[in-house]
Symmetry: T
Subunit: 68 residues, 12 copies
């Protein structure tokens, strides 16, 4: 992967599971960032409501190539 | 989130995947703890039997509000 | 679990989610390693292509009993 | 410190600073736990509202002696 | 907290204490970032001059909602 | 290990060595907790008096099954 | 270092060694960021091709002053 | 900061808050160490007495220049 | 220690204490690995049965020289 | 990177610098392992003799594809 | 523990077990340092010779009160 | 390595690369400390001036034998 890459941290959320939360984070980041190349899961948390999991939250670190 | 919160660590298990293991941990904790507010995944492990994943195990740290 | 165990680190991949990536890692390891007993998730990463998650990658540490 | 101790994790909050958040966590824990002996700061977070710090949150691990 | 959040790391400084350093970091970040929701303390350092603390420095990770 | 497990952290002490400190922590915890299944060493510390080790202190995280 | 600083994470690459990879990351970041003040090495990785190191990759966290 | 620096770890205490504990640690270290340049907070703990915080304890790592 | 070394992770067990568990891990590894040079303790766990420690488990990382 | 990968930890040494130590570790590993794809630096240590650095030691985690 | 404390890291060794290695480290440190108060185990390693544990090595962080 | 060892942390600097910074730290420490045996890299940072790396800074933990 020659070149220079930048990393950003994004939190995605999903009512269903962690994989969907990851996908939503990547999809949203893709609206303003191009040439995304890889991601790393940094943290997995969630919200609880009425005794049940209401939301899965995943912090992903995304690497994308900088145009030079 | 004004107020005081307590944290407990619970291990949930599921034969299917990590999200189900998280849900089972939260559901079980909800039988004795009220006002659960959030959780954090601490560890993801599992059991193997006959060369296949037999069980997904997730340790979740659950935060709940203390009645004051 | 009396006896001696060895640990190996394997990276499994899946286009769908982390649980499938774990299963593929365990299944592949089982081709050469016997008596696998447990696993621990060490790292969760992934590849991005055209702005979408192209691959989920999970590093699992697998414990298996050594015949003595 | 001969004897056996138990550890609990409590999150205290304060609109002013971290030290006050620690004190509120200890004070609340003291309502149900006796013989508290020491604490350790595990995490320092906070809430933001209208561009300003609205709340300081401190997770403290509290050690207390068990009556035997 | 449905939606997508971004995280940025900012270092605030204060001659008085860590809480003021946190506040200055949040206030400054608020000039260009909107919808800030929470922060986490990542590191606490400081500068020493003539044998005394000259400056408290706090690295805070700030989470803010992305308009979608 | 199907089912749900809870984790508690206990500090055991011994004038002799770490293994004895672990055993005392487990034994004491067993007075109020049933179905203990495994433990993990979290921290090893100790007290010094008159230039000699006066006490070994071990923090163990104990997992026990919840009756459901 | 009075004032407010922001941190960004950049991955630099070099076919020769880690120091060159650091320099390339800083040089590239300098095209869009001003007043860079310090960096910290977060991760050191690399690519292998035909049994040899093909590329050194260094993730650096760069601190730069915000104009206020 | 050209030159060579040494690091020492000191625990400062205060009945009031963490910032005062940091200051007391730096002040005391300054009695025997010269050219102190920066510090980093390593650990924040405290003592509890009669259900209240009796003492804030901060471990600071202090960097100082060696005369060469 | 000129030359190239490989690292393997082995879990040893003992009903008595951690030192015996370490020794059993090293002894077993020595049956297939030669030129072992050092070890590092990675994790200390154990099994509990009938309210007592039934087994001490130690994960050791072993370094051994590769014949070249 | 579809497929399954295995990770091994190798310590390379060099009298000159860390980059050479990495290269020697990769070269040696390549004698028995094929399809090596990436590495990660885990630890950087060294030996001192007569007050000077006698050897740089780097522990690298190497990922290689398993033929399936 | 009002007052100021300093921390030093010492490695003790023993042919028998970790507890003896801790004791030897404390005893040796006591020859030059007074008012030692507590210790914390930082690392547990060892040397292997002829396929057997030849030496247990423990790094302990020792806290001692500074005369003021 | 029978005997007792002490650890000190030293920060070395170099305008060229990390290996030189390590060497300068060891050389300087050797002026007052004897019987140095090994080192471990704890942190790698640096200063930036005019958009370029002005200084590489390495924190090394040095182990040396105590005369007994």
């Amino acid at each position: 992967m020659p070149g220079i890459y930048k990393l950003i941290d994004v939190v995605g959320t999903s009512p269903s599971n962690f994989a969907e939360a990851v996908k939503s984070a990547i999809a949203e980041a893709g609206k303003t960032v191009h040439h995304m190349s890889w991601f790393e899961v940094i943290e997995q948390r969630g919200a609880i409501k009425d005794g049940k999991v209401a939301e899965f939250q995943v912090t992903v670190r995304i690497g994308f190539k900088i145009d030079t």
